[in-house]
């Protein structure tokens, strides 16, 4: 009974577009309607999409994303570990595109040397928790996202319970040391993992499926042995690799064929070269 009236209220608040096969609703009216019927914004969004009512914020996703794909995104839960250079841009893209739920983990705090590339870090947020800054950003960018924040450096023991409740793992870690552990845990949970890693103006991205090939040979040694310690990390390549990771995540969530499975894409933002290599 309540559901029916929620739907009729949604219809009253939505607009017909002459050239689109769906109705649209503004964020503010969808939030208001959700509030009246005591639904979370996240749940209200899913119900609206299923009733063929597209939140107006996603209008320019169409027709690249079908309504069905928009629903798959809204119903997905992504585990994003690392909220620095790669993670900040990945979160920005996925939240705006319409991923419904996130688990966001990072125990670090912003430092001035992060500001050349980390979109969540600002002059005002130096010293602040990366995870809490991510939460603030996501609330401001897309209030229909649910985000569970974990402001800690995760260890081996904490991972299984967190990973199990998600659909996809995105490795946006800084440093090489913890990456093999995360990969191993994603594989044990039977989930795909999309990894990205950069140094200087060179960056790589790869998708690893359980029992598939992985780029773990790049992660030999400890955190100090990665080339990034010598070369730094340029915003150009960090944002590019994050975009590639986010694109692959959207493909996988919307049931497309992954492009980087058993492969690694190498990009260089100085030479503007791209190469897809077989692992």
């Amino acid at each position: 009974m309540k559901k029916k009236s929620f739907h009729s209220e949604l219809r009253n608040n939505s607009d017909e577009l002459s050239d689109k096969p769906f109705q649209t609703i503004s964020s503010s009216l969808l939030l208001q309607t959700a509030d009246i019927f005591r639904l979370s914004p996240h749940q209200a969004q899913i119900q609206a999409l299923k009733a063929n009512i597209l939140p107006e914020r996603y209008l320019r996703n169409t027709p690249s994303l079908s309504m069905n794909k928009q629903i798959l995104l809204a119903e997905s839960r992504v585990f994003l570990i690392g909220l620095g250079g790669l993670g900040g841009y990945i979160l920005e893209i996925l939240a705006r595109t319409g991923v419904g739920e996130f688990i966001l983990a990072d125990g670090d705090h912003f430092e001035e040397s992060n500001l050349n590339r980390q979109i969540l870090g600002t002059t005002e947020s130096i010293g602040q928790s990366k995870a809490f800054e991510a939460e603030k950003r996501i609330k401001s960018v897309n209030p229909f996202c649910n985000a569970r924040i974990i402001p800690e450096f995760l260890d081996h023991s904490a991972l299984p319970a967190l990973i199990q409740s998600t659909d996809l793992v995105i490795d946006a870690l800084g440093g090489i040391k913890f990456r093999p552990t995360l990969l191993d845990q994603a594989s044990k949970a039977d989930l795909p993992l999309i990894t990205g890693f950069v140094a200087g103006t060179t960056g790589l991205a790869s998708t690893v499926y359980p029992q598939g090939k992985s780029p773990s040979a790049f992660w030999q040694g400890d955190d100090l042995q990665g080339a990034e310690n010598i070369l730094g990390n340029m915003a150009t390549i960090v944002s590019m690799i994050a975009t590639i990771q986010a694109s692959e995540a959207i493909r996988i969530i919307t049931q497309g064929t992954p492009r980087l499975r058993d492969k690694v894409l190498v990009a260089d933002s100085e030479n503007l070269t791209f190469e897809l290599l077989e692992l």
Binding site: F197, A199, A217, G221, G226, A227, V266, D268, L277
Partner: protein, 74 residues
């Protein structure tokens, strides 16, 4: 015979000037590292013609060799 060598990240300083290198029959990625004075232990990943390869793969005319150090920044 010539091959093309791409050296990435911290290894880029060892790349031959125009990317081309003269090799002989029997040369492998490992022997190419010696020719280019690349410290072998710094090379973590090798691709030959876009395929992940081993240090002792025999190289042939026009092969494309790509070499990488450890990389893990984010």
């Amino acid at each position: 015979m010539k091959i093309q060598v791409s050296c990435f990240a911290t290894l880029s300083k060892y790349a031959p000037d125009d990317g081309n290198l003269d090799i002989e029959k029997g040369d492998t990625p490992e022997s190419v590292f010696k020719k280019l004075s690349i410290p072998s232990e710094e090379v973590k990943v090798i691709f030959v013609n876009g395929q992940s390869s081993k240090r002792d793969t025999l190289l042939k005319e026009n092969d494309r060799l790509g070499i990488f150090p450890a990389i893990g920044g984010g």
